[in-house]
């Protein structure tokens, strides 16, 4: 693989696929790739056939535990692996009207976890109002997925650690590696130093400290065309290095597999790693991970109120297969009766120990 190709990808990645009019910004094109090639010619089994072998098709939801709301695709970063294709040029932002509809659902849901994501959710102009209102609903675990650098991006975000603390928000942040080189390669130049500073600020107000109720977890995504390894061993290495080098404390590390969609799919194809990666995912298929895959206990809501089985299906525009498709007609009983929409990207959540927004599942 030529280094120049990777340099081209890196330079181009300063904008979203959408802004670059890249063909992979079209979800139909992504689905054609995921359904074609190795799978169409029979080299690898379709996900549907694979789970049917163990009697797990159709995939059905269990009890709803997590309500994940994507408040917009705008982000201050343009990470190479981003499955959302987020960036400063994305203008899809949840309005206060849609947030009101979400709040109604949050007040009545049986889910114990509320999970706000983006883009950088903090960039939504109504983010703080939404967090204040949502925190009144008494949800057991209220997660905000923060990219860390946003805390330092502008003066108006500097007090976010105190704001999170005030509302007892559980902060989950991405950190691809405990070294600068690997982190900056995936997430952009300077991201590592800013992330370290942001983690130190979170530690200062009590986040991530041993025995602290202010939860701070990190998310590890591999920075390249390979799968994550054992989550507990990675956590041990991250804790040791971040403590020794920067005095940083955190609670848990979630290892998340990169799914072959959006910008990561673009990277896989451009670097000639797509076929090997799909082989690796299928070879690492684990039926036990299917049993607990996150779409069985999660509903994902998009910035414009549509409902999906997970954040990945949202990005592929695969809406829930239910009569209820939008937050304005939300009904948990009707939704729980659906079958989950699957395709070949789902192998990403069933490889090895499995992968979810909360880390491994098997």
């Amino acid at each position: 693989m030529g280094q120049s190709i990777l340099t081209d990808i890196k330079n181009a990645a300063k904008k979203s696929l959408k802004a670059r009019h890249n063909e992979l910004a079209d979800t139909h094109r992504q689905m054609d790739i995921l359904n074609g090639g190795l799978f169409a010619n029979g080299e690898l089994p379709y996900f549907k056939d694979k789970i049917a072998q163990t009697g797990q098709f159709p995939l059905k939801p269990k009890k709803l535990e997590i309500l994940q709301i994507n408040v917009g695709y705008m982000c201050n970063q343009v990470c190479e692996h981003c499955h959302v294709d987020a960036g400063p040029d994305r203008k899809e932002i949840m309005t206060r009207d849609t947030m009101e509809l979400c709040l109604e659902v949050i007040r009545n849901t049986g889910a114990h976890t509320l999970d706000l994501t983006g883009g950088a959710p903090e960039m939504n102009p109504d983010f703080r109002w939404f967090v204040e209102e949502a925190s009144k609903a008494g949800i057991q675990d209220f997660i905000v997925r923060s990219n860390l650098t946003i805390i330092l991006a502008n003066k108006k975000y500097h007090d976010l650690p105190e704001f999170f603390k005030k509302h007892n928000v559980h902060v989950v942040s991405s950190m691809p590696h405990y070294t600068k080189g690997k982190t900056d390669k995936q997430r952009g130049d300077g991201v590592f130093d800013k992330s370290i500073q942001a983690l130190q600020k979170l530690n200062e107000v009590g986040y991530g400290m041993p025995n602290s109720d202010l939860r701070l977890d990190l998310v590890y995504n591999p920075s390249g065309a390979f799968l994550p390894s054992d989550q507990s061993a990675m956590e041990r290495d991250f804790k040791k290095a971040l403590k020794a080098d920067f005095g940083i404390e955190f609670h848990n590390l979630f290892a998340i597999t990169n799914l072959p969609i959006s910008r990561f799919l673009d990277y896989l194809i451009a670097s000639d790693n797509y076929e090997d990666y799909m082989y690796a995912l299928v070879e690492a298929y684990n039926p036990a991970a299917v049993e607990n895959v996150m779409c069985t206990n999660t509903i994902s809501v998009s910035w414009d109120g549509w409902l999906y089985d997970c954040d990945f299906n949202q990005m592929l525009d695969l809406k829930v297969a239910s009569k209820v498709k939008h937050i304005k007609e939300y009904n948990e009983d009707v939704l729980n009766d659906r079958s989950i929409v699957i395709s070949q990207h789902c192998y990403g959540c069933t490889a090895g120990a499995g992968s979810s927004c909360q880390g491994t599942v098997a």
Binding site: G224, S229, D230, A233, M234, E283
Partner: protein, 111 residues
């Protein structure tokens, strides 16, 4: 027969050796799997040893597999290269220490 002796796609077929000798193949893979589990040495340390040995025995499949394994375990490129040097140093040292044999023989034969 393929056009070259080594085909990257053959690495995926490694498990197939069991088809022609199930008992020995199964015993080998059980042993192999056990060796690389966490033990007195961490799986991470064993991955680096495997990478060093892969270079010494010059096995392209093993280099492919243990470079990827190292990346998966968060091992840095600096650590990987040091492991390769450790292997190379032992390999070159093993050659050079035979220089003593040469010196012994030279001295014995010389007046």
């Amino acid at each position: 027969m393929a056009d070259s002796y080594y085909d990257p796609a053959d690495l995926r077929k490694f498990g197939n050796i069991t088809e022609w000798s199930e008992e020995l193949g199964t015993k080998f893979f059980d042993y192999y799997g056990k060796v690389f589990e966490e033990g007195a040495l961490s799986a991470r340390e064993k991955s680096l040893i495997a990478l060093a040995v892969a270079h010494v025995v010059k096995c392209p499949y093993c280099i492919d597999a243990y470079t990827k394994d190292g990346l998966q375990r968060g091992i840095t490129k600096e650590e990987m290269m040091e492991a390769v040097h450790a292997g190379a140093a032992i390999e070159s040292g093993a050659t050079l220490v035979h220089g003593v044999m040469m010196m012994n023989k030279y001295n014995k034969l010389s007046m």
